[in-house]
């Protein structure tokens, strides 16, 4: 098994360090849902198409993440509470290089 540890700060400010599988084609948004770190219906509304920004998160660690594609960039241009380190969780697949990643969920909007 190749699990990685990821720290996710939920919308209430609580940090959760969880094990995320790297062999299930999961992304950060799906990991958050799998561990129920945000209420159902408040994250991953579009299902992971980079079309709703409900999975926006702030990347707090210095990991090399996959480069942002145009659709993610465009969606973030219309989202609220966007910062320089904003990403859409659904566009970040969980990979072995991600061990120790730390992210914070952006507020619901």
């Amino acid at each position: 098994m190749s699990d990685v540890n990821i720290t996710i700060i939920d919308r209430e400010g609580e940090a959760h360090t969880i094990e995320a599988p790297t062999d299930m084609a999961m992304n950060i948004m799906e990991v958050v849902r799998a561990y129920e770190l945000a209420p159902e219906g408040t994250i991953g509304i579009c299902g992971g198409m980079a079309m709703c920004a409900s999975c926006q998160c702030y990347v707090l660690s210095e990991h090399d993440l996959p480069e942002m594609q145009d659709d993610e960039d465009a969606m973030l241009a219309e989202a609220f509470y966007v910062k320089d380190n904003s990403r859409l969780g659904c566009q970040i697949p969980v990979t072995p290089e991600m061990d120790g990643l730390k992210i914070e969920l952006a507020p619901e909007s």
């Binding site: 209420p39 219906g41 509304i45 198409m49 465009a74 241009a77 219309e78 609220f80």
Partner: protein, 353 residues
């Protein structure tokens, strides 16, 4: 008062397929949806995206799925109350439910099927501290009647299709149209982007990018908006206008349904999945993404199944004690309420000599 057999709340794929299944049982349906068009998420969020797990469709665009479902159910003449949100429900002594929308439209039915997906779509409001003070006083999140903008100065904010499309439309109606977006790039359809470019070149649309509206100025109504533009050097300035229309998409909220006395778990309505997808209130069912039960999967195809099972239970409520056996459409054909009939062609019997 609109009267029907099954009142469906939500005109997404599950609600639309219910029309067909109910029609086979000679039950009429009426659908309420907060969006101005049927299709739910499929038409609002991702009409141009493909879906690969609709049985027998290796690939179908979400918008096309909506079209096909409407076509499949049209002979059962469903009624629609669109652009209105189901607000309250009351059960009368005779067992009938009365559902009233936010605009006061009343609907009466013996069975209510909530097929509300993730909830009703509400506009996403930009984080401007005084924006709520100006709602309906010059700030509109949804354009309902474009005529109110005739010969007015209008500012639209946003970078998607609706922002672009309304800019194009209003450039012929309003006296002045200004489009403000946080980026120089827009993610709308290419032809919309090109059209806005053309109108900008002709001076029919003012474009302010990359910029953001950060405040609203006015006493009783919008007089101007405050813009922060970050090109080269950051600067703040006011743009005079009569209307400010922020178009940042819609996000679903369970909304008033949450106060109907239904058992809610994880933002979804608990149902009896062993039997008929009925909620804790007899006569009210919940089907599709809006419901939850052990092992629930939020898939369109599961919504279709739930709708089909639910219709059988609705039939029993509406026709108590009446005998019925399920028939294959291939055998029975499809008899529309509009007088049409679809049926399998009869086999040709011919002697071989």
């Amino acid at each position: 008062m609109i009267k029907t057999d099954i009142l469906i709340i939500g005109a997404g794929p599950t609600g639309l397929f219910t029309v067909f299944e109910a029609g086979l049982l000679k039950l009429r349906c009426h659908l309420i949806d907060a969006l101005p068009q049927p299709g739910g998420q499929c038409s609002e969020i991702y009409p141009k995206k493909p879906i690969y797990d609709i049985p027998a469709y290796p690939e179908i665009l979400a918008g096309d799925l909506t079209e096909k479902l409407l076509e499949q159910g049209k002979q059962f003449e469903p009624g629609f109350t669109l652009g209105e949100r189901a607000e309250t429900i009351e059960k009368q002594e005779d067992g009938m439910f009365i559902v009233t929308t936010n605009k006061g439209t009343k609907h009466q039915a013996p069975v209510v099927a909530i097929a509300g997906g993730l909830g009703s779509f509400e506009p996403r409001k930009p984080l401007i501290h005084n924006i709520t003070d100006f709602e309906d006083k010059g700030v509109e999140y949804i354009i309902k009647n474009p005529e109110i903008y005739r010969n007015k100065k209008v500012v639209i904010a946003g970078g998607g299709d609706s922002a672009l499309d309304w800019c194009i439309f209003l450039s012929d109606v309003a006296s002045e149209v200004t489009l403000i977006h946080r980026r120089n790039e827009f993610r709308g359809h290419l032809d919309s982007v090109e059209k806005v470019q053309e109108l900008k070149n002709k001076g029919k649309i003012n474009l302010i990018t990359p910029a953001e509206v950060i405040g609203i100025v006015g006493d009783t109504s919008v007089k101007a908006i405050v813009v922060n533009q970050a090109q080269h050097i950051e600067k703040e300035f006011e743009v005079e206008c009569d209307h400010f229309i922020p178009l940042f998409g819609l996000s679903p909220k369970l909304g008033p349904i949450a106060n109907w006395g239904l058992e809610i778990e994880k933002n979804a309505i608990k149902v009896n999945n062993a039997l008929d997808y009925q909620t804790n209130i007899p006569g009210i069912f919940a089907i599709g993404d809006v419901n939850t039960y052990p092992g629930k999967l939020k898939l369109i195809l599961c919504g279709f199944h739930e709708a089909t099972i639910m219709c059988q239970a609705a039939y029993q409520i509406i026709n108590p004690g009446k005998k019925y056996v399920m028939k294959y459409t291939t055998v029975s054909g499809v008899n529309g309420f509009d007088g049409t009939r679809k049926e399998a062609p009869k086999a040709v019997v011919k002697k071989i000599e």
